[in-house]
């Protein structure tokens, strides 16, 4: 690539003011003697000027207020979600603690053996399994009730 071609490839970026000082000097020196590149640089400058003065899209009226309202709404939703997560975690801990306490009490009262249909219900594994099933069933029922309650509030 000769100097003319090399400079010509820089003209667009020259109009965008993105050349290094060295490149700027090369362009300036070249366009002093090259009519073609000088005209081309002028055209690029017109484009750059036009791009800096594009018609502006007007921000819709009330954009700031609507954005603020949306942020407040999202903030409230997120806070509600966090509250629910904490509540759920607390319920899980409470459930397991209650189950453990009941297990200890049941074992103390029955002497560690309480057989129904051949299964020792106060055995550690059996107690864990039955507690888990009971907890999940209760949680599912609670979630359904909460969901129905929310639907009803939305409807009203």
């Amino acid at each position: 690539m000769n100097e003319h071609e090399s400079v010509r490839a820089m003209l667009a970026l020259s109009a965008a003011v993105l050349l290094s000082p060295d490149e700027v000097r090369r362009v300036e020196e070249h366009v002093r003697t090259c009519e073609l590149c000088r005209t081309d640089l002028e055209t690029w400058s017109e484009y750059a000027q036009g791009l800096r003065k594009l018609p502006q899209p007007s921000a819709p009226a009330g954009l700031m207020e609507r954005t603020r309202a949306k942020i407040v709404q999202e903030h409230a939703v997120a806070a509600g979600r966090r509250r629910h997560a904490w509540l759920l975690a607390a319920l899980v801990v409470l459930g397991w603690t209650t189950s453990l306490i009941f297990w200890v009490v049941a074992r103390a009262l029955t002497g560690g053996v309480f057989t129904v249909m051949g299964v020792n219900l106060v055995d550690g594994v059996a107690w864990s399994l039955s507690s888990t099933v009971l907890a999940w069933t209760t949680a599912a029922a609670a979630a359904m009730m909460l969901g129905r309650n929310r639907e009803m509030r939305r409807f009203l």
Binding site: A16, L54, P57, T67
Partner: protein
């Protein structure tokens, strides 16, 4: 109004507002939205080509910013961070709409000229400028999104190469070559239309 907003941004780093946001001060977000609303909205309109979508993305940008404020690195430029969030949301939107990546995108959505407002002193030059601006805006609307992005960041937001690279998440050399291709492509389109801007 936009000029006034841009001028009030001189020397603005956003540090104080970010610190207030982290402390949960709700007025801080109002100040920031107020400062950036025109520029950010304009950037999003240029990217997605539709004011209603741009408004939706504008709101999502601030919500995302609130979510991420805890992880904001104060050494970074706040402006570049904000525009990067907006850009990523716009990319996600364009990908969902077109089902293709931004790099391949050739968006033909025109900027709605009827909603564009020009501010020029002289009536005749205003008309000429508006016509030229509308022609350029329409041609930009036909460019791929990655080209629209670099053009608006460089010429309208007056961002430096480093800032554009930070917003777009690409190396400086890529920004430079994208700008070069964007300008070439813009000129080719306008000259092919036979109208010219001179």
């Amino acid at each position: 109004m936009i000029l006034a907003a841009a001028m009030s941004l001189e020397g603005f780093t956003g540090d104080r507002e970010v610190a207030r946001l982290r402390k949960g001060d709700p007025d801080a977000i109002t100040d920031l939205v107020g400062r950036y609303q025109h520029r950010l909205f304009r950037f999003l309109v240029r990217l997605v080509g539709d004011p209603a979508t741009a408004e939706d993305l504008f709101q999502q940008t601030w919500i995302r910013l609130m979510e991420k404020i805890g992880s904001y690195d104060a050494r970074r430029s706040f402006e570049a961070w904000l525009f990067a969030i907006a850009r990523n949301l716009a990319i996600d939107y364009l990908r969902r709409r077109r089902g293709i990546s931004l790099d391949e995108l050739d968006d033909s959505g025109h900027a709605p000229v009827e909603r564009l407002v020009a501010a020029r002193p002289d009536v005749l030059s205003q008309l000429l400028d508006f016509e030229r601006g509308a022609l350029l805006a329409a041609a930009i609307g036909e460019l791929p999104a990655i080209h629209r992005e670099v053009l608006t960041l460089r010429f309208e937001e007056d961002m430096k190469l480093e800032q554009i690279a930070e917003v777009a998440g690409v190396p400086l050399s890529t920004v430079k070559s994208r700008l070069h291709r964007a300008l070439e492509s813009l000129r080719t389109r306008i000259e092919a239309s036979g109208k010219g801007i001179l």
